[in-house]
């Protein structure tokens, strides 16, 4: 390998590109996948490009929009901000694991009932987050707006809005997303 140039770049192409691969097993929506992946592959690209599960969306690839939200071992995460090889053996739930067009889950149906989307691109991430925040509230995980840390957390508009604020919706469906989440929460309570 050549020494780095004055900008710190290595001139040897293969080394500079970090073209190393590792085996990795992902359990996605209950199905085991044994993959060999470029170490640079994000969890999001593993899902979208290698498993053709394109429900998780790439809006920014920088953890700024939330369109790629999936659950890893039950916790929501931006799949674009984590490398696939860091998830060897993990259980991953994507929007495809929530329901199919023929058999939607309650949150998916609530999004339709309340017109909680327009273009649909942020929607899978919104639904994954919406599902997760109800669990987070039930589990007593506080947010920035939780007023009392010693009692059960109330499912207020403010709690939902705060917890959903990592999922951007440029079509501006927030008011309807809020209603959809309340619909599911009320059905469960």
């Amino acid at each position: 390998m050549h020494p780095p140039d004055q900008l710190g770049r290595h001139r040897d192409a293969s080394a500079a590109c970090g073209d190393d691969h590792s085996p990795c097993t992902l359990h996605v929506n209950g199905t085991r996948h044994d993959l060999t992946l470029d170490n640079r592959t994000t969890l999001l690209d593993a899902l979208r490009e290698h498993l053709a599960l394109t429900g998780a969306k790439k809006g920014c690839d920088h953890g700024q929009c939330g369109a790629c939200t999936v659950a890893v071992n039950g916790t929501r995460i931006n799949a674009c901000l984590t490398l696939a090889v860091m998830h060897d053996g993990d259980e991953i739930t994507t929007i495809e694991g929530h329901g199919t067009p023929e058999s939607l889950d309650a949150m998916q149906q609530a999004f339709i009932d309340n017109d909680a989307f327009q273009c649909g691109y942020c929607t899978p991430g919104q639904i994954c987050s919406a599902t997760a925040i109800l669990e987070e509230i039930r589990a007593g995980l506080p947010s920035h707006v939780t007023e009392n840390l010693s009692t059960a957390i109330d499912l207020t508009d403010a709690e939902i809005r705060e917890r959903m604020s990592g999922n951007l919706c440029r079509c501006g469906a927030y008011a309807n997303i809020l209603k959809a989440i309340h619909q599911v929460a009320e059905a469960h309570s």
Binding site: R9, A13, S14, A16, C17, G18, D19, D38, R40, T41, D45, R48, E49, A52, L53, K57, K58, G59, C60, D61, H62, Q64, C65, A67, I95, E96, H98, G99, T100, P101, L104, Q108, F111, I112, D113, D115, F117, Q118, C119, G120, Y121, T123, I127, A158, R161, E162, M164, S165, N167, L168, C169, R170, C171, G172, A173, Y174, A175, N176, I177, L178
Partner: protein, 737 residues
């Protein structure tokens, strides 16, 4: 079908399906992640490679040297195409800067290379190995400085009466300057394309685009090939807002990459490239002068504005609405597009009005205050039912006053805070504001094809659904016209193999495309009538299509039995006649806002938003409401947080991602209410419908600004109204109280 006069009473006045709430028919695919967006088409074009773009890192100049040797040697790389490898591509009419080819750099992050590899990681890694050297040229990036050097603002677009004389003698006048920031569409789905041009002949493109026919022609022009050799598909578009009206670099790079590699290639613009590589809404600086009598009647408007554009573009015309929104016998408007070498400015949701009303409607609030009038009553007093520049030209429909009155009633305007800075809840100052909104209701010719077989109808049109609800309202239109259930109609959109439609943009899509589908259904009815063998030949108009049956004199037949099982196909388009030019056809709204502004930090929180809209027949109250909610939400960003920040030395937008460019998030948006007046407009289309998607963003920023003023007593005339623009005034007021 020609639409040469206003509609008479027709089936849409007694509709079962059109105008009724219906959930989106594409909803199940979207909520389950199965709707295929452009970059996700694993089902088409086997053997796709990945292209990764490289953007220029100067704003103006020439590329003197590019070395892709190392990139080409990198693992997995199939091809590298640099801008120096390609003769300058033709510039399509819709593009200001050249999209690719040659050594000239016209703006920052202009595409200068694409690396094609077997994976994204390898393409991106190799793109980092391309060496580029530039000869940078001096350029102008500062709108304020350019404006100072301007001697005048160019020829007025309108100059009626004697504005100067009217202002000179008016007892109440306003003269103020307002600024709006450059804004980014920031749609959630990046610009993306898969292109198969492997053989350099026929080109197939899967992309995310609002205007199929325009973009097909732009591709033909750009590559100097026959449009018939190009096929485009864009069935699902992850938001557009004007940013996907045009052919952009993703498609061009994928095409060049595909030709070079001999394989299909997909390219998505990385988010940090989008803000400078694609288009944006230009910033504006606007000077508004308004004159009125003691009675509150406006006697003159003088609205002058500048915006910026690359040489050859048109900028953001912020003065247009001032020509016809309010009465007043003297008016002058002038817009001057200043050449700067910032990235390409172009259309974004309600181009012109979104920025113009942001200024005009603050000015109206300021005038009302000077006159000691209720801003609602001030607007009502200055309503006009005719074009003020041409009193012989009436508005086809204008229910702005009803919007204002209905909104005031529903909002509880009577109980508003009446003293700026006068209402406080703890550390929060509470304020109320309102604004009017106007946006034109254009229509474009639009075509469709319908296929009937065994009682099921397929509608095909190159219309797009960018979240607007096109799939659903088109199905509603076809079901209504043909007497079918919604479940019996399938809608296929966004494909260049289908008849050319209006496309999605300019608030013309819903009204135009549904009219085109109606025309195609009437053509189908004629074919059906011709096929019926019942004694004397019946005319289509003598038949009724109801609940899956065809009824008429001696006819009672299931639609499923028409054609003996063969498919019946009909195609037509709606052509809108010249009679519309004798009318002002527009949409109107009144917006009411409550805000809380933190007395010490200047943080502004929206507490309530209400819109009352006059926008023709609402085809589907669910999807139309969502369009207006979306406009209000985007406007909340425009008012309080969105602004592209210019690096005035290097000539680019510095906050070029979704962390730095702050669109409204969920926690920013309060309770929102949308009300539609029942105002079908027979002059607009056979369905008496108008667009609503752009109306929702118009006026809202000013309503917010006026509410902030009402809360604090601090008048901010520059958007976005960030804390730094408020705190000084808040401190001054606190010191004097």
């Amino acid at each position: 079908m020609d639409f040469n006069q206003a509609s008479e009473e027709n089936l849409f006045d007694h509709a079962r399906i059109v105008g009724k709430p219906h959930a989106r028919i594409d909803g199940r695919l979207k909520v389950s992640g199965q709707a295929p967006y452009a970059y996700e088409r694993h089902d088409v074009a086997a053997g796709q490679l990945v292209g990764y773009p490289l953007g220029a890192t100067i704003a103006k100049g020439r590329i003197t040297h590019m070395d892709a040797t190392q990139a080409l040697k990198a693992p997995g790389v199939a091809a590298v195409v640099t801008t120096l490898d390609v003769a300058p591509l033709n510039r399509a009419e819709s593009n200001v800067a050249r999209l690719f080819g040659g050594d000239v750099v016209e703006h920052y992050h202009q595409a200068i290379a694409v690396v094609v590899a077997d994976t994204l990681e390898r393409a991106r890694g190799a793109a980092n190995l391309i060496e580029v050297r530039y000869a940078e040229e001096d350029a102008e990036f500062d709108l304020e400085a350019a404006l100072e050097r301007l001697q005048n603002l160019g020829e007025p677009a309108a100059d009626v009466g004697d504005v100067e004389a009217a202002i000179a003698k008016a007892p109440v006048t306003l003269d103020a300057v307002y600024r709006t920031s450059a804004q980014s569409h920031a749609m959630m789905e990046p610009h993306a394309s898969i292109v198969d041009w492997s053989d350099g002949k026929a080109m197939t493109v899967w992309l995310s685009n609002q205007m199929i026919a325009w973009t097909r022609q732009a591709l033909a022009t750009t590559f100097d090939i026959d449009a018939d050799a190009i096929r485009l598909e864009s069935p699902y578009v992850g938001g557009g807002f004007g940013g996907k009206l045009w052919l952009r670099a993703d498609t061009v790079l994928a095409a060049l990459g595909s030709r070079a590699a001999g394989r299909p290639v997909k390219v998505a613009l990385p988010r940090p490239l989008m803000f400078n590589n694609t288009t944006h809404r230009s910033a504006t600086i606007q000077r508004l002068r308004i004159a009125a009598g003691e009675d509150g009647r406006i006697t003159a408007f003088d609205h002058a504005a500048v915006s910026h554009t690359l040489p050859g573009g048109s900028g953001e015309d912020a003065v247009n609405q001032t020509r016809c929104f309010y009465a007043g016998e003297n008016r002058r408007v002038a817009h001057h597009a200043i050449d700067l070498h910032l990235p390409e400015s172009a259309d974004m949701r309600a181009p012109g009005e979104a920025s113009g009303l942001a200024a005009l409607e603050i000015a109206m609030d300021e005038m009302a205050e000077k006159l000691d009038m209720d801003p609602v009553e001030f607007r009502i007093l200055n309503d006009t039912q005719v074009d003020p520049e041409d009193p012989d030209k009436p508005f086809s429909q204008r229910h702005f006053v009803e919007c204002l009155r209905e909104g005031a009633e529903r909002f509880g305007w009577e109980a508003r805070n009446r003293t700026p800075g006068g209402r406080r809840e703890g550390a929060w100052l509470i304020g109320h504001g309102m604004a009017g909104a106007y946006r034109g209701a254009p229509t474009l010719d639009s075509g469709a094809r319908v296929r009937l077989a065994r009682g099921r109808l397929v509608v095909e049109t190159d219309m797009t659904d960018i979240g607007t609800g096109s799939y659903t309202i088109i199905a509603q239109t076809a079901a209504e016209t043909m007497g079918l259930a919604m479940e019996d109609v399938e809608v296929r959109l966004g494909n260049s193999a289908y008849p050319v439609s209006s496309g999605s943009g300019g608030q013309f899509g819903a009204a135009s495309a549904t009219a085109g589908v109606y025309a195609a259904c009437l053509a189908l009815q004629k074919k059906i009538a011709a096929q019926l063998k019942v004694g004397a030949q019946l005319k289509a108009e003598e038949l009724r299509f109801d609940q899956g049956r065809i009824l008429g004199e001696g006819v009672d037949l299931a639609l499923a039995d028409v054609g003996d099982g063969d498919e019946l196909v009909a195609e037509d388009k709606i052509h809108f006649g010249d009679f519309k030019e004798g009318l002002q056809i527009g949409t109107f709204a009144a917006h009411f806002i409550e805000v809380a502004v933190h007395a010490y930090t200047g943080e502004t929180r929206l507490r309530r938003m209400l819109a009352v809209c006059d926008a023709g027949r609402i085809l589907n109250p669910i999807t139309a409401r969502s369009q207006v909610l979306g406009g209000m939400t985007m406007a909340a960003g425009a008012a309080l947080s969105e602004g592209l920040e210019v690096d005035r030395a290097r000539g680019f937008f510095t906050n070029h991602d979704l962390a730095g460019y702050e669109v409204a998030v969920h926690a920013d948006i309060p309770e929102q209410e949308v009300v539609f007046l029942e105002t079908p407009d027979a002059a607009s289309t056979p369905l008496k419908a108008k667009g609503v998607g752009e109306l929702g963003i118009c006026g809202v920023p000013a309503a917010i600004a006026n509410a902030v003023y009402n809360a604090t007593g601090v008048r901010v005339r520059d958007y976005p109204i960030t804390v730094d623009r408020l705190v000084e005034g808040l401190a001054e007021r606190a010191a004097h109280s």
